[in-house]
C-alpha cells in the first residue's frame, strides 16, 4: 500500500504549472487544486523565471481555484514580497467571490498583494504601475 502511494506521489510531482512570457510580463494560470509541495515549487519556478527573463510584472490567474487556504494564501503573498525585491509586480486575478469571503473570515491578510477582477484589468493595473501608457486600440 505504502509503495503504491509513493508511486502516486512521484507521478503527481511531475505536474508543472506553465509560465508564459509575453513582453515584460509573465502569465500563470493555476488550473488545478495544488498540494503544498506543488505550491512551493510554483513559487520558486516563478521567481526563477523573473530572474531569467527580467520580467517586470506577473499575472496569476486563480479564477478556477475553488479554495485558497492559509498555505496557498501565504505562498501567494510571500511570492509578491519576493518578486517586489526582484523589481517585479504581482497581480492576482479572478478570485471567486466565495474564495474572497472565506479568506477574510479565515483571518488571512495578504499584505502587498494586488488583485484585479480579471486578466484584462490586471494587465491595465500592471501597465499603470510600471508607468507605461495603456494603448487602447483605435
Amino acid at each position: 500500500m505504502k509503495k503504491w502511494n509513493d508511486n502516486i506521489d512521484s507521478v503527481l510531482q511531475e505536474k508543472r504549472i506553465p509560465i508564459i512570457k509575453i513582453g515584460d510580463y509573465l502569465i500563470v494560470s493555476i488550473q488545478i487544486d495544488m498540494h503544498d509541495k506543488l505550491a512551493i515549487q510554483l513559487q520558486s519556478q516563478i521567481l526563477a523565471e523573473i530572474g531569467k527573463t527580467g520580467a517586470r510584472g506577473v499575472l496569476i490567474d486563480i479564477s478556477v481555484l475553488e479554495m485558497v487556504d492559509s498555505f496557498i494564501g501565504r505562498m501567494l503573498s510571500g511570492m509578491a514580497s519576493m518578486a517586489a525585491i526582484m523589481d517585479a509586480a504581482v497581480v492576482i486575478v479572478g478570485m471567486q467571490p466565495a474564495v474572497a469571503i472565506t479568506l477574510v473570515e479565515l483571518g488571512l491578510e495578504m499584505p502587498g498583494v494586488d488583485t484585479a477582477l480579471n486578466m484584462e484589468k490586471g494587465m491595465e493595473m500592471l501597465e499603470k504601475r510600471l508607468g507605461y501608457t495603456y494603448r487602447k486600440s483605435q
Binding site: 502516486i8 487544486d33 475553488e66 498555505f71 467571490p97 469571503i101 472565506t102 473570515e105 479565515l106 488571512l108
Partner: protein, 141 residues
C-alpha cells in the same frame, strides 16, 4: 471543550486517511463533494473545504497523518455535516494558546485552528499529550 453531542440520526458517509500531502488535496475535494451533495451553497462549500484543509494539514504536519470521518447528523436542531479528524500525534500542549490568531508552534501561520473555527458553525477540540488530538467541525446544511 467537550465533545459535541451528536447522536440523533447520525449516518457515517465516508472515512478517509491522511498520509501524504496529496491525501490532503483528495480528502478536501471529497468533503466539498459531500457538502455539495447535501445541498450546501457555494460559499458554505468553500468555507467547509477551507476549514478541513487547515485541519488535514495540521494532522499531516504535526502528527504525520490521521483519520477523517464524515457524518451526516442532527445538531442543535439543525441538519448538519460533521467532520471528525483524529490523529495519534504528540497532542497540543496549550489548547487556549493554539486557538489564538497568529500563534504557531511550527512553520505555520497560526491561522489554522482559529481560522477553521470561524469558518464552521460548531467546533470542538480535545487533545492529550502523547496520545493525540481530535477535532470536530460541524456545518449546518
Amino acid at each position: 471543550m467537550a465533545e459535541l453531542q451528536i447522536d440523533k440520526n447520525r449516518d457515517r458517509i465516508a472515512t478517509y486517511t491522511i498520509q501524504t500531502e496529496n491525501d490532503i488535496v483528495l480528502a478536501r475535494q471529497y468533503v466539498r463533494f459531500h457538502a455539495k451533495q447535501f445541498g450546501m451553497g457555494i460559499v458554505d462549500q468553500t468555507r467547509i473545504t477551507t476549514a478541513v484543509s487547515e485541519l488535514f494539514r495540521n494532522m499531516y504536519q504535526y502528527a504525520g497523518g490521521g483519520d477523517v470521518y464524515v457524518d451526516l447528523g442532527d445538531f442543535a436542531g439543525h441538519h448538519a455535516l460533521i467532520i471528525t479528524c483524529i490523529d495519534q500525534g504528540p497532542g497540543i500542549e496549550n489548547l487556549d494558546q493554539a486557538m489564538i490568531d497568529g500563534y504557531s508552534s511550527g512553520a505555520g501561520m497560526g491561522f489554522g485552528l482559529p481560522g477553521a473555527k470561524r469558518l464552521v458553525d460548531e467546533f470542538s477540540i480535545e487533545s492529550e499529550i502523547n496520545k493525540g488530538t481530535k477535532v470536530q467541525v460541524v456545518k449546518w446544511i
